[in-house]
Symmetry: C2
Subunit: 147 residues, 2 copies
């Protein structure tokens, strides 16, 4: 079984939740997601699972830390599997593809910010907006290639 799915199932079990048919469908759908997804996409892909159950399962997974909730500027938030412990996200501003990265420098910056910030730092979030390689390739083959 895919390690991602194991992680998701374990996250649910750790919270004392049963392994049910509906939840398995959700975790296996998420495991197949290469990109971040919205709750709505899950509902669409799993018509046999009720909306409420999809939302409830997502909430369990976010609460347990197995999924990240990414609030985006407009529309429904996206979710992505938390593949590394502490990480940040890249979001392609053309196609919406979400990636993850980790960079020790970011943590070092946090420590240096501690001095000038008014209060105790308890966490942080960082998102890098990119044009992903696929979208770059797409526009290169188009009319804008003469640069």
């Amino acid at each position: 079984m895919d390690p991602v799915e194991i992680k998701l199932i374990t996250a649910l079990e750790d919270r004392g939740l049963r392994k049910t048919a509906a939840r398995s469908l959700v975790t296996s759908r998420i495991e197949n997601a290469n990109d971040a997804f919205t709750a709505e996409q899950l509902c669409r892909d799993l018509p046999e699972v009720g909306r409420a159950t999809v939302y409830r399962t997502i909430r369990h997974l976010v609460d347990s830390g197995a999924l990240c909730k990414l609030p985006i500027l407009d529309g429904a938030p996206m979710y992505s599997v938390a593949r590394v412990e502490h990480h940040h996200h890249t979001i392609c501003s053309k196609c919406g593809a979400v990636g993850e990265f980790r960079h020790s420098t970011v943590e070092r910056v946090m420590r240096s910010l501690e001095k000038e910030i008014d209060g105790d730092i308890v966490g942080h979030r960082m998102e890098i907006f990119i044009t992903c390689n696929q979208c770059l390739a797409k526009s290169d083959t188009g009319a804008n290639s003469a640069v």
Copy 2:
């Protein structure tokens, strides 16, 4: 007149929008906002202005760059006046107070990230979650003082 309000009014004028009574009420309410606010708060504070106009005015201000839209983890997004050109936000995880800061190191980190990120960086967002001094003071006077 407050420089913040001038900035907001100018942002609207620059887009060819008239200066109307409703818009003046909105900009003057925002000018008085020390913290970030939600659209709903503006509507509550300005019952004489229709919801649609509040939302439309906010949208104009965000589009013009005079306001920042901050998507938050749960609930309605918050807005804050863009006081410095490129900045980031601190959000108190207890009371929700939003502040701004700018740090040259953050920009330097961006440049070093450029190498390891798959695509072109077109922007970024960073939020620092804090416990603000007010909330720290509050909990210090409480039971947790013996540290």
